[in-house]
């Protein structure tokens, strides 16, 4: 437990010492969301309908953007080796890194999402559910993403390859996440969507780190 906490604190501290990375990911999210109205036209009704999907796809892509660095720095400077040689299982360290990744990538996205939702003229209820769904869904993105980042660690063209592997696996999160907001906008209850989203996140965070650890050991050989 202490080892887990230590990895989380360490990764957060590292992320905060170079805040430019976090900020540029967030701005990427803002820019993607702002491009859609330019592409499809300013009709408010259409934009309101597109908003859940657009914002969720934006959150997905922004998460993707920060994934390649999840292990790359530690791999390059040898820290990953030391993590693999720690008496604690490597999966535990990966779990810590996944949690930290969510804290510096998923959480800020969830905070930012309602502001962008306002631009798309979403109702208050829909804004709340949007924030909540991104909050509940992004842990799954971090977890599954860790597997992809582990598999592509140290490969040429790793970033593109990573999106190729991970994006298809993100589809359920996208469907339930955007579906929850859609449901509220359509006057339905979003509970089922949110419950499924939570299930995906719990599964993703509980199992993915151990699989990612397997992939990392391969990369270290």
């Amino acid at each position: 437990m202490r080892a887990l906490l230590h990895v989380i604190v360490r990764d957060l501290r590292l992320a905060l010492r170079r805040p430019a990375d976090i900020v540029s990911t967030l701005f990427f999210f803002v820019i993607v969301a702002s491009l859609f109205p330019l592409g499809v036209g300013p009709d408010p009704a259409l934009l309101r309908q597109l908003a859940p999907g657009v914002l969720w796809v934006g959150a997905l892509l922004a998460t993707m953007l920060s994934l390649p660095r999840l292990f790359a720095d530690d791999f390059r400077d040898g820290t990953l080796e030391q993590m693999a040689l720690s008496p604690n299982p490597l999966g535990l360290a990966v779990l810590g890194k996944v949690v930290a990744h969510w804290l510096y990538s998923g959480l800020p996205l969830a905070v930012l999402a309602p502001v962008l939702g306002l631009q798309f003229d979403l109702s208050t209820g829909a804004l709340g559910v949007l924030t909540f769904s991104i909050l509940l869904g992004t842990p799954a993105l971090s977890g599954i993403g860790a597997i992809g980042a582990g598999l592509t660690l140290g490969l040429r063209g790793g970033g593109v390859l990573l999106s190729l592997l991970v994006l298809p696996l993100y589809i359920p999160v996208l469907i339930f996440g955007a579906g929850a907001v859609d449901a509220v906008a359509g006057g339905l209850e979003p509970q089922t969507h949110l419950a499924l989203l939570t299930a995906l996140s719990v599964g993703g965070v509980a199992f993915a780190p151990w699989i990612a650890a397997l992939a990392l050991k391969l990369a270290l050989e």
């Binding site: 190729l164 994006l167 499924l196 995906l200 391969l218 050989e221």
Partner: protein, 251 residues
Amino acid sequence: MNWFKYSAPAAFYPLAGRLIPWFWRLAFVFAAAGLYIGLVAAPVDFQQGEAYRIIFIHVGAAWMSMFIYLVMAFWGGMGLAFNTRLSGMMAQALAPTGTMFAFLSLWTGAFWGKPMWGTWWLWSDARLMSSLILLFLYIGFLALTHAIDDKRRADRAGAILLLVGVVNIPVIYFSVQWWNTLHQGASVSVKGSSMAVIMLWGMLLVALAMWMYTIAVALTRARIIILEREWRADWVQTLSNPESAGGTAGN
């Protein structure tokens, strides 16, 4: 019979060589019978006309694309669990054929959709979406294993990806189904309740032919992969140059 004996490439190579012609023959027999039923014997559908006959290929291709992924995942799991070299080679050998069938099922699906639905592509069809995602998974596997130079790492990373994919396929399928019912009523269904028995036979025979073809092609490809990876081994040197058997070749 000791199956593990054949998990060694040196034992597998000649066995596969003997089996391949038989699988080709079976493939041709089944294909001829299946296509005869599908294209000649089966009656014209009074609603769909002649165009429906494409499903004899389409259904088989769709089944194959799913089966092959499962088989690859099985080999991947074996490779991770027992550390056998052959498992990774089999997964590699099956991947291009699986990709081809996934693409074929999409392509024939579009050809079938045009006369039936009046459009090449229908986003609201859950099966079409699932096939598309399966194709993405295949392409991801191929891209990953080809990006890794070290064969051992490529095999094992591919196996991990396959297992992750297999666990995810039901979740993805369920979510797409869910999304589908949310955005539209029931999708267009191919299978009427009154599908003629003869049509079922046609589909089954074509699917069997595809199986035999897949096995033949995968075994051939596996033999090539074995030669590529193990060309330094004594037994491979013996194959290509019987006179110097076991001599200095291995060093």
